[in-house]
Each structure stands twice: as C-alpha cells, then as structure tokens.
C-alpha cells in the first residue's frame, strides 16, 4: 500500500494527478531517471519525456495532468499530444498523472498569475519552467477554470508530443545514418522513403529517451492537424457505460469500515455535547466520535452508521451566525451598498466619467438584481476513504486537485507530505465543489482516531447543507443613454468579488464611461467556486441590464448589443451567429418569447438565444441556440456536450436553485427542496462552433453557463413584458 505504484494506477484506472511536462521536458536536465520508475516500470516501456510513454507493443501513453469529472478533457488532451506526435490514435491510451510534485502544472500557475504576460514566441516553451517553482509552492495542480485544453493542452501537451516526435526522429536518423529531414512520421511509425525503412516508435523509444530535449519543438499548423478538431469518442465512455469505472465513492480497502458524519448546522459552531446512548447499542456500530466541529459514527456498514448517527442528540455552541436569516442577509447587503453610496466601495474598473455621463444622459435606467446561494449538488455525494497507521496515510477520493488533497491529508494526519499517498478516482461531478478539502480532512481525522481504514460518505442532506456555496449577491446598476439611444454611461456596484476578476466587467461593450465597484459583506457561509464562478451571477446581472437599456432605448436586444460590439469582429460574429441560428425576428406563437445574451468568459465567446413558452403556469424553455467561439475546438463532440451540460446546470439554477438561511443554517436538504432540472424540462439545444483563433484557445467547461439565465429572463420579458430581477424563477409568479 505505502509506496505508490505506477502499475496499480494505470492497471486499475485509479489515478491521481496533475500537471506538467514542458517545464520538465525542456529545462536543462532530463528528469526521466526520476520519473521512470514511477511511470514506466513495465518491461520494455520507455518514458520519452514526462508526458509520453511508449510501450514495447508500440502503445503510446499520454500522461495527462488533469482529472476526469465528466468534462472529457482527458480525451482532448490525448488528442493534442497524439496529433503533434503523429501517434496512431487506435494505439493511444490516456492516463492521469500521479499526485507527485513533478506533475504540478506550471502553466496553470501562469494562467492565473500572469495571464496577460506577453513573451516572444521563441521563449514560449521555456518560460513555463520559470513558473514551475511558484506553482509547486502553491499547489497549483487543479482541474478547473475551464483550463485543461486551453492551458495545459495548448501550451504543454502539444509541445510534449512534438518534442517526443522530434526525439524519435533523431534516434531513427542516428540509427539509420540518414538526415533527420528525410524521415517522416505517421501512425506511430518512423519511415525513411529513400531506403524503404519503416519501424514502429517502440523500436526507437529507448534511444529517443536518451536524446537531448528539443529547445523549441515545432508545432503543427491547423491545416496539418489529423486528430485535433475531430469529434473522437471519449476514452472514459466504455468504463462508465459498463459500470467498471471507479469513482471516489467506489474505493475498496481490505478491512474498511464506514463513517457517517454530521457537522454543526451553523458553520463555525462547535459540538458542545452529544448523547450517544441509543447509538451505542445499535447494530454494526464500532465507534462514536465527537470531533469538535462534527459528529461521526463508524460502523460495519454505511447504513448502520447513518442510522445510528440519526439517533444522536447534539447540542452546539452559539455563534454570531445563529441570528441570520436570508432576508436579513439581503438587508445587510443593502445596508453595505447604501453605505457605499454613489462613490464608495472598491473600484474595480473605471473609464471616463460614469457619474457625469449618467447625470447628463437623455434617458436614465436603474435596476437592482438579486441571486441566491447555490449548492453544487454533485451526483456523487462528498466522500473520502482514509487509512492512517504506522506513520503512513493513504487517501482515496475524487478531487480536482490531487496534490492539494494530499497536502491537506498530510496536515490533518500530522504527517509529512512524503508519508501520504493520495489515490484519485473519477469524480462523480466536480463543478468546483471538489476543489475543497473539507471531506479529505474529515476522513483523515476519523481514520487517525480509529487506526483502521474508514470510508466516510456524506448523506445527501449533509452534502446539501455543508457545501461551499456560490454566494448570494445583490447588484445595482445605473445606465445612461444619449438622445439617439446610444449607451454612454454604465455604473455598477455589487456585493463580493471572488473570481475571475473580470467577471463583473464589460470591456467588450463599447460604452465610453463606465465604473464598476464592489463591497465585501461578511457572512459566515463558506464560499466555493461554482461552475463559471462569479460569471454565474454577473452574466445574469449584466445581460439583464443590457436588455433593460435596450428597451429604454426603444431598440431590439440583438440590435442594441450589435451596436455595442460593432468594433469587435470576433464578438460580433458570435452574436450574429446566435441570432441567425434562432431565426431572430421571425414571429413566434402567441405567449412565446425569445431572449438573447452574450457573455465572454474563460477565454471563450458565447452567445445564446432562448425561446420560452409562457402560456402555461410556469416558464417552459423550448429551445436554446448556442454560438460558441473557443478559439479552436479540439473535440467538437466533447465541447458541444459541455455547452449542453452547462445549460442543464445553469437552467437548474435559473428555474429552481436556491440555498437560503434560517437561524444561520441552510434550509434546504435534499432534492425535494433543492430541485434539479427534469428531463421533460430540458430544452432542445443547438450548438454551432466558430474557430476564431487557433493560437489562443478558450475554455469549454464553464463558458456555456453564464448566458442561459439572462437569455431565459430576457425571453420572458419579450413574451410577457415582465422583467425578472431575482433568481430563481420559482420565486416569481407568472399567473
């Protein structure tokens, strides 16, 4: 158990991992000696660089630095590496990198720390190395930020594949004694036409690994792509269809027992006393633990643990949060916003003089919008299996940041990082929830107390009530139009700002004067990144207000946005595409409406048009048209699926999503009061892709979400004249 075995993780598909290759591969000093024992211990296997392995059977393994949480990025990353390498896709397998420091993603650090850093292209592959240490120090080894393909894939996987190919060519040229320029590669074979020689990559893998690393591997231009841009079937599909796929909750450890947990309902409260009288004599119960911030029952079976837990009477300490109800929290937001007034708060962006332009505007528009807290509601509830014994700790879960989970486990166990082995499995939904470590820490603390392996599973209730939530928020706008109905002033103040920093801003809209501010309002609930993070609320706020300005200007929502985007061809192309797809302007049946929304996020540009039927008791979203420009889409099928799933997730929030507080605790507990979109409520979704810039890719996992709520509410306005300024829609009566 103790030592992480490469064979185990590849063979069983139990993997752990994170990033990097280029930094390693192109820096001085070949790290293969260090990595090879971990990654290529099978007979005849050669690690050509940190991300590429070639087996004796000529199977090329792409070692990818991200985790699989349903988003399918692993396949796209494999395509990028294999394409540059000229590998035969039928003989390519994709595995996740282990949770070891060497696979920390340097380029993700770069994306977050210096996204706008411009460097000469010549330095492109080596600059990455400079960020390696910083990224390692900060555990930046996450799958998130819609980053895998656009960052790791574009900057690292392609370079690794191209470098491997050049090293194989160099090895073959040396062996055959022919010029490198005469050697060609295709389908995992090196060939020399003049001499008629042709051999599989495997023959030269060992020699290639000895070659010096290319300083700057040459990448293909899009006309040479053979795999990138193709809708290749995801590699994780078979195991998920036949049921052999292992998720975190499927961890099996000999002698493992089960833990059910209940944390203090008000975050920050402590367990003052616990009455376990009944639980002690219940079947299967092994241990009952008061951990201070939560209670745990360990039993032979999960159900036994949960049943016993349900009988435990617990008293909690009083906290400041106890007094807080949701209405009072929104009142608190108002107080902070009022206090900030016309000029207070923290200014995020400012251009021109928004106050003056608003004061002198021919038409003034003002509006306030509200959104609730949201839970992630991953299909697989939070869980973690841990075993702490003999100064070692093993942890099994599905986590967006395996290295971060490993560090958190080490801290919770009171052990050194080196003494902890983290085993990552598929994530049954991530959405940002599985970038937190609370479940990891809790399981390790329980297992440290028991000394035998324990699988901790949260009930759905616990999962709903102890999330790290998308914050509830209030946002106020003032907009000014000149006498021709042209937008001249845009002023916004909103609560909170987490990430991305540009979420509340609208640099793409050509409005001469704008000012955007925020106020931080304290709450005791924990914030967590939720699919598209701050864009999830600001997409709704911004695109609702743009629509209100259009109405005030007496213009159509599409035409008004067109004017605002007229200086940006790429943005305009997407807006026009969505309008064209939807037949914008064509008459809809009585009581139906069409709404448009445009939100660039995570490097991608997305416009959506929603068609809503308002003839019934509640809104029925019939169709959603999506026009998307993600630079260059590596796997159109996977990307389209991400657009569709973002609409499922975003429409769930639009229609139903609401976490609210009463006496400081979350009121919702399960799917009866935290509803999901049902299959009969799913609109038909039509996606069209425009590849606008193959050098600068955009993300796929998140950008499809922010436009859906405003597209729907704008459509409701078009159908009914009723402007929705608060989500979810279930709070509004349309009778």
């Amino acid at each position: 158990m103790g030592k992480w075995s490469r064979r185990a993780f590849i063979g069983a598909g139990v993997v752990a991992g994170s990033a990097l290759v280029v930094g390693v591969a192109v820096r001085p000093g070949n790290p293969n000696d260090e990595l090879k024992p971990l990654l290529a211990d099978a007979e005849g296997e050669e690690l050509i660089n940190a991300w590429v392995k070639v087996g004796a059977d000529n199977v090329v393994t792409a070692i990818v630095p991200h985790v699989e949480m349903g988003q399918g990025a692993l396949t796209a990353l494999g395509q990028m590496l294999a394409d540059e390498m000229d590998a035969d896709w039928a003989g390519v397998q994709v595995v996740e990198a282990p949770a070891i420091d060497q696979y920390v993603s340097d380029s993700i650090g770069r994306e977050f720390i210096a996204p706008n850093l411009q460097v000469p292209e010549f330095f492109e592959p080596t600059v990455a190395g400079g960020f390696l240490e910083l990224a390692q120090a900060m555990s930046l080894q996450i799958t998130g930020g819609s980053y895998s393909v656009r960052g790791t894939g574009q900057r690292a996987m392609r370079t690794a594949g191209a470098a491997a190919r050049e090293m194989l060519i160099a090895a073959a040229a040396s062996e055959w004694n022919v010029p490198e320029g005469e050697i060609t590669t295709a389908n995992s074979m090196v060939s020399h036409a003049k001499s008629g020689k042709s051999e599989p990559y495997a023959k030269f893998a060992a020699a290639a690994a000895e070659q010096s690393l290319p300083a700057k591997p040459k990448l293909k231009s899009p006309d040479k792509y053979t795999l990138m841009g193709k809708p290749i079937a995801r590699t994780d599909i078979p195991a998920k269809v036949d049921g052999t796929a292992d998720f975190g909750i499927d961890a099996k450890v000999p002698g493992m027992k089960y833990a059910a947990v209940k944390a203090a309902p008000v975050v920050g409260a402590q367990v003052e006393s616990m009455d376990a009288t009944a639980a002690k004599s219940m079947p299967g119960v092994l241990q009952i633990l008061n951990m201070g911030d939560f209670v745990a029952v360990v039993a032979d079976g999960y159900w036994q643990a949960q049943q016993a837990l349900n009988t435990i009477g617990t008293k909690y300490s009083k906290t400041e949060g106890d007094k807080l109800d949701q209405a009072a929290l929104f009142t608190r937001y108002d107080e902070y916003l009022d206090e900030a007034g016309a000029d207070g708060g923290d200014t995020e962006t400012e251009e021109g003089d928004a106050a003056d332009a608003f004061a002198n505007a021919a038409t003034k528009v003002e509006a306030e919008y509200k959104v609730p807290f949201l839970a992630h509601a991953t299909m697989e509830p939070m869980n973690c299996t841990a075993w702490v014994r003999d100064g070692k700790c093993d942890v099994w879960s599905g986590h967006q940041s395996p290295l971060g989970a490993r560090k958190a486990a080490a801290k919770a166990a009171g052990l050194d990082f080196e003494d902890v082995t983290y085993h990552n499995a598929y994530l049954g939904g991530g959405f940002g929830r599985r970038s937190e470590n609370d479940n990891i820490e809790m399981a390790v603390r329980i297992a440290k107390a028991t000394q035998y392996p324990v699988k901790m599973i949260w009930s759905r209730e616990e999962d709903t009530m102890q999330d790290h939530y998308r914050p509830s928020a209030t946002s106020r706008f003032q907009g000014g139009l000149d006498k021709d109905g042209k937008a001249v002033a845009w002023s916004n103040i909103h609560t909170h700002l987490f990430d991305p920093q540009e979420a509340p801003t609208v640099p793409y809209y050509n409005i001469a004067n704008h000012k955007i501010r925020k106020v931080d309002v304290p709450t005791h609930l924990r914030f967590g990144p939720w699919r598209s993070v701050d864009h999830s609320q600001h997409g709704f706020f911004i695109e609702s207000f743009v629509d209100e300005m259009a109405v005030a200007a007496g213009k159509d929502g599409y035409a008004f946005r067109r004017e605002l985007l007229k200086d940006s061809k790429r943005h305009l192309a997407i807006l026009d595409k969505a309008a064209e797809m939807s037949g914008w302007g064509n008459t809809l049946p009585e009581g139906h409406g069409r709404g448009i929304a445009f939100v660039p996020s995570f490097g991608s540009v997305i416009a959506q048009v929603a068609e809503v039927d308002m003839t019934g008791a509640k809104p029925k979203v019939k169709k959603v048209y999506v026009a998307a420009d993600a630079g260059f889409v590596v796997n159109p099928d996977g990307f389209t699926a991400q657009m569709e799933s973002a609409i499922v997730y975003g429409l769930t929030a639009t229609l139903y999503g609401e976490i609210s507080l009463k006496d400081g605790a979350v009121q919702q507990s399960n799917f009866h009061d935290y509803q999901m979109l049902r299959i009969n409520e799913m609109p038909e979704v039509v996606v069209e892709i425009i590849n606008g810039d193959h050098k600068r890719l955009g993300g796929g996992g998140e950008p499809g979400l922010p436009p859906i709520a405003p597209a729907v509410t704008n459509a409701i306005f078009a159908a009914t004249g009723k402007r929705v300024r608060e989500l979810p829609l279930s709070k509004t009566s349309f009778a």
């Binding site: 977050f112 996450i142 201070g292 971060g404 801290k411 820490e441």
Partner: protein, 161 residues
C-alpha cells in the same frame, strides 16, 4: 498582486494547507463500542435465544449477524416476515432453492435443483451469477471467505430454531 488574490479566492483551503503545519483537531470524545470483527457482546446477550451457557457458539453467530448487515438491505430473516427485495432467509439452510411461496424467483434458480447446504450457500454467496447464471441476485456477492462463513453460521442458527 490582484491575480494572486484570485488564486487564494479560488483555493482558500489549499492556501491554508500550504501555510500551516498544525495538525487537525483530535476527537473531543471517542466512544469505542467494539473493535472491528469483535462480536456485539451486549446485543448478543439480549437478543440471541441460545446464549445461556453456550458462549462458544454465540460469538460466531453474533459475528455472523453483524456480517449479515450487508445482506439485510434485501433479505429479512424474521420467521413470519414477508420477503422483500430478496427472499426471506429464515430456515433457508437445508431447504431447496426457490422454496418460498412469497418470492418470485428467477427460472434459473427455481430449476437449479440446488439444496442449500453450507457448501452450496458458500459458492452462491461468493458469486451468485457465476453459480446460477440468470439469478436475479445481482448484488451482494461476498468475496471474503471468513465473512461468508460467518453469514452461513448465522443463517444456520436461524434454521435450527
């Protein structure tokens, strides 16, 4: 530093984990009811009919009852209870396969001709679909031989009363 703060916002827990080396809190209170594998002594004393003077036999039965927990999602064992998702297993040891009136057995099991000796039960619990292809028992295979033995001991005790 604006973007640096963005990282901390996205990854608050990671940032904390990296900054602090204090171990997480130990339990405030730890009640050990029993060790894994040990019999639930008090329960056995209260519930098992054949305990008095027969502790040698009671312990494995109690352990078996505990091991049976994973079966109890589908099977009941009370003499007069109706079958649930799986057949009631009261007095099942020694009986022919497919014997209960109140359970819709698969054709495969009904026509298997099996009599539930301990050996047959052991083979079946180890791999139901392998032993009787077509069985509707699609879950609950017990791979651990010791656990199977304990479960069968428990079922046998129920068949004897």
């Amino acid at each position: 530093m604006r973007n640096l703060s963005a990282i901390l916002a996205v990854l608050p827990a990671l940032a904390l984990a990296a900054c602090s080396s204090d171990p997480a809190p130990e339990p405030v209170e730890q009640i050990i009811v029993r060790e894994p594998g040990a019999p639930p002594v008090q329960q056995a004393a209260a519930e098992e009919p054949a305990v008095s003077g027969e502790n040698d036999e009671a312990a494995p039965i109690a352990a078996g009852k505990s091991a049976f927990a994973i079966c109890s999602g589908c099977h009941v064992v009370d003499a007069d209870a109706s079958s649930t998702a799986g057949p009631n297993l009261h007095a099942s040891v020694g009986s022919p396969a497919g014997a209960r009136e109140d359970f819709a057995y698969s054709e495969a099991l009904k026509s298997s001709g099996i009599t539930w000796t301990e050996a047959e039960l052991d083979a079946y619990i180890a791999d139901p679909a392998g032993k009787v292809p077509g069985t509707t028992m699609v879950a609950g295979a017990v791979q651990d031989a010791e656990q199977r033995k304990a479960i069968i001991t428990y079922l046998t005790s129920l068949s004897a009363t």
